[in-house]
Symmetry: C2
């Protein structure tokens, strides 16, 4: 059977992913090392994702602010683990002027900075510095801040949405009077992420704590949401960190307590990024293109007139009529009255993953009907409905699709988690090409034998099992 | 009379402005050369401003996208005027790794880039490059793109919101098949900005074309919206450029026309930034702090319980009751039940420019009343109303305030525009310390005598008079 995307997932998952991005017109590689350009359709998805995440974050009492793009190297240097984690991928600004020299435009040596800056890879340091001024007394706590910004981590093996040198994200930074509050906050935001992925992205996640080896650079505890892609690989999609007093001590975030004494605050940080879009695409799409959960679909319904014998104008008018009824019901809808052929339009919107396709021809128009197809179910779901019935039911059809997509992904995940007793069994499974997450005793992963398996099969510890933290999940990952 | 902000506007406008920013908790200087940190209250204003601007831009058929932060120097170099305009303030990224050498963290010389990047000062070049791939046929036109991003122009004389090395903005980039369409687009977006400033920011602007001397680097026509601050200085708040074929020729943006021939497209660009916030603050505020137009006030109403004799709990409950009624009427409201003294709360919200302050004491509570004061009118507007009346009227009270603020600013502007016949009269006016905009023949400004006045009094050509483009407005400016 011919598919819209070649190769198929089964043939070459990685190439399929690249071609999916192109076919759905989501993004392209930029003429800047490791960076991508997000095209309008991709960005419209992100705007919907961002709006809902922002709403949920603000509902926890967090306020948005905006901190500088550039970070003084001296700041960066104050937390040793942090430096170790990020120094090797830092874009460095060293000059502030260009000069034409012998016809070549180059950095003006007279503009060399005594103290260079790095482009933020994350903002614990510069926000820690601000908090050291903003937090004075216990009355200022908790302080809850977030920003939606671009960050940069120089990337040698870039992959659109999954790993790009520049990416867009939200980074939250909260400060508390006690460790108990900070840890509860890190767990709260961790749960918020998992709930969001379930409710909005229709993605089931494995929640758990990172092992010490995999923690964020400068954290006491890192809580992660791990998604399982269709090829069985893990995608770390959102992390929440209990930073202890590492940054409050490095930056002097102190408050005068009710006891009249100065205390260092306890801080957290937590972030989700455009990487989630990669997870979204790799979780739900098929060999014909994207499948978008209705909650984040720029067009939840697309109306496609299939014209014949010069009935274009009447059909386009009928399409606009349907669109205006749906718009009144708060549905994001597009009437595609462009002059492409009907079949080309249909494939365009299949590839872009529009949840409901409404095809209308002369027959539907004359009978005040619509023919509706659900993107995830395809032809088997095709049905012709009275227009009024469709308008009345469209919301619940979208809701059903959202739930069904989650359930399908959850059912697939269950087949992808394997319990392992002995490391020899793990080797056998990997040798046999078994895909997915392997659950084994964390202790077993501290052996040289496991180190060998990590190198050989490119697997890594994803997170401890929340249900029993003596177990860890191990998988290949993006 | 004691004022909340010292010095007053009359005493020292520039210091007043700095202190206003601090008193209203909007922003602070960042530990990065020329940059600011926008604090939560300031950012909440920007989020409201941005949402409404975004809505208006999208209504013209523009789609948002996201282009890289870094621009290859080679791109930047392709349009000669563009380079001349921005090379002297470009932040340059030359390395992609840090290394610890003798205890100092510094750029790793082995990570030096053969081709350095600059941080975008604006994105005509990299978007032009993308458009050269995305535009193929006349069917792809018009192409209308916008992005909300941070940009950087190294700033030697920074001033919060008005001139910072990094700032946030939207930059729109449209492409058309004909010059007429492109020019009409540049004018359409120009008008959109002026309408927005009038309707949303309550700021009257002077609309006009920049003189050739003041055009954007690489434009054929630059249309500007000039605001007049309370000290008579101009603030250029939004500009829209007809770029002719400068960038389409430099980047090869070509389309196959209906005539079967390749043609270069005609492009526009147009932007507004956080600079508008500076204009907002300097247009409306007074010696007691900010005055926010209701359309962009994070809290349109603040309820302030003035407790006495241990009635705190009952009053706080009454405050929450009022807040929930207003929230149901879609008003952005805050019940300030914090444990500050009533008078301190009042001054806090006066300084932050909340449109309507609702004070409630035991008397109001017992009578189901509220005492309401409009921020722009102060004590003279204070009135006690039945709660139900207030809830029914609050929307129209806010609308009136929005209109009155615009009218007050427009009336003030009228006193600030002066017609000048001879340059000697201009010198006399400036010598006498007259503030505002001076309107004279553009031709007169091409003389050496005028050049002398520009240097001596730091005045500049702001824009041609739309009503009669043989005239130009001249003023000091931010």
């Amino acid at each position: 059977m011919k598919t819209a995307i070649t190769p198929t997932r089964a043939e070459n998952f990685s190439e399929w992913y690249q071609n999916l991005i192109t076919a759905a017109d989501l993004a392209e590689n930029a003429p800047v090392r490791g960076c991508m350009t997000v095209k309008p359709y991709g960005w419209a998805i992100w705007e919907l994702m961002r709006a809902e995440m922002d709403r949920r974050i603000k509902a926890t009492g967090v306020q948005n602010a905006n901190f500088p793009l550039l970070i003084p190297i001296d700041f960066f240097n104050r937390e040793a683990q942090h430096v170790a984690g990020f120094a090797k991928e830092a874009a460095v600004v060293t000059h502030y002027r260009l000069k034409m020299i012998d016809g070549n435009l180059q950095p003006d040596s007279e503009s060399k900075l005594t103290d260079p800056y790095i482009i933020r890879p994350t903002s614990e340091t510069i926000i820690g510095d601000a908090m050291s001024r903003w937090v004075q007394s216990y009355r200022d706590l908790p302080m809850k801040l977030n920003q939606w910004v671009n960050v940069m981590r120089w990337e040698m093996r870039p992959r659109m949405f999954l790993r790009t040198s520049e990416f867009n994200w939200q980074e939250g930074h909260n400060a508390f009077a006690t460790h108990a509050e900070a840890n509860a906050d890190a767990r709260r935001m961790h749960k918020l992420y998992a709930d969001y992925m379930r409710d909005v992205l229709a993605i089931p996640v494995i929640m758990g704590e990172k092992t010490p080896e995999e923690r964020f650079a400068g954290a006491d505890h890192t809580y992660t949401t791990e998604q399982i892609m269709q090829d069985g690989k893990a995608l770390q999609a959102g992390t929440s960190h209990d930073l202890g007093q590492h940054f409050s001590k490095s930056f002097g975030i102190q408050y005068l307590g009710t006891d009249g004494q100065l205390h260092h605050a306890w801080t957290t940080s937590w972030g989700t990024s455009t990487r989630m879009m990669g997870g979204l695409f790799m979780t739900h799409s098929d060999d014909d293109g994207l499948i978008l959960p209705p909650a984040v679909a720029p067009h939840q319904v697309v109306i496609i007139p299939i014209a014949r014998d010069g009935n274009e104008d009447a059909l386009n008018e009928y399409a606009e009529k349907i669109a205006s009824k749906l718009r009144a019901a708060d549905i994001r809808v597009l009437a595609d009255t462009s002059d492409m052929r009907g079949a080309d339009k249909m494939w365009k919107w299949i590839k872009r993953g529009v949840p409901l396709r409404v095809e209308i021809g002369g027959r539907e128009m004359d009978a005040s009907q619509v023919t509706v197809t659900r993107r995830d179910l395809g032809k088997s779901s095709k049905q012709t409905l009275d227009l009024d019935v469709f308008v009345a039911d469209v919301r619940s059809m979208l809701d059903s699709m959202q739930h069904d997509m989650y359930n399908a992904a959850a059912a697939r995940n269950e087949t992808m988690i394997h319990n392992i007793d002995a490391l020899a069994d793990l080797r056998a499974a990997l040798d046999a090409g078994q895909i997915g997450f392997f659950r084994l005793k964390y202790e077993q992963t501290l052996s040289p034998e496991f180190e060998g398996l990590m190198d050989e099969f490119k697997i890594s510890r994803r997170c401890l099992d929340d249900a029993d933290p003596t177990y860890v999940f191990v998988a290949k990952s993006y």
